[in-house]
Amino acid sequence: MILYTPMQLELVFEGLDKDPPRCFEQITHRGTSLLVEKASFGRYRIIRVLSTDPAVFLDPALQPDQLVRPE
């Protein structure tokens, strides 16, 4: 991987070695598979949408970093 950026790499990668490893899991929400991370109050934060339907990626409720509550 090559980062091509004028930003100082120390700033970009700051905290990469300190943060605890993030724990992702896969859930199905409204018929779509999502790779999510646990957030507070029983919700999940979307990391990645796992779908082959391109229209799903335009759904405003299924954008990365949105919070979802499993059904």
Partner: protein, 284 residues
Amino acid sequence: MFHGYGEPNEKYTGGTPVSENGPENQPDLYPYDPDEPGESDPDECPGEQPAQPRRVQGKTREVIESIKEMGTSEVPAPKSSIHCLTIVGQIEGHLVLPPQNKTTKYEHVIPQLVALEDNNEIEGILIILNTVGGDVEAGLAISEMITSMSKPTVSLVLGGGHSIGVPVAVSANYSFIAETASMTIHPIRLNGLVIGVPQTYEYLDKMQDRVIRFVTGHSKIDEAALRELMFRTGDLARDIGSVLIGKEAVDKGLIDEVGGVGEAVAKLKALIEERKKNKGESLH
């Protein structure tokens, strides 16, 4: 700490419509009948104006839903025939960057572009850039996606379109740059898992050639001029390279025109009209 919201045992009895009970459990608040005429129908013809969503206590159903689900109220906007793709922060590639970075996730943007190409209601795409660059592969992937679309695309650089933001900016059919926006052009540097042997130099040179080839192929700048900008000394404090601001980027042939969102949308609409006249033929 914020208590009382979203807890499983529902004790919250405040007078707001925000509640764990679904709308069907609140007949007074929301007497929803799916068969009732006047509800907006998802199978409706795309050309027709959708029926006014039902209003309850001064709020539409969507607003109540978004308050309940997200804690925010988003005003439902009328559908537009153009879509706006924003490329902000770092373009994130194969490595998830630490959370202090604002990132554009290429694995989400690429299928979005497929959906925009496929969707019959969308006629053009406006790409707004304010990026500090990022992963070479991811940036080039997005650029290649944008440039191969059959629908009209217009890009607008606001604030900055640095490094790998340059190929993304030139990938559109027509590009704009705000008067004060800047673009940094500099060589690709050593980072990541690259072993320090003579081949490293050749590898970086090849990566750089990919960027140069894309930029010269999709803008009016020639290779010699771009390399001169890339290896100029004395412009940047910590690096070699150069910064182009607004009109300078247009003078160098990198960007087509200086302008803002008004000019960009007007140009996109003109390109859409042109495409309609040519009966949907590609602009390439």
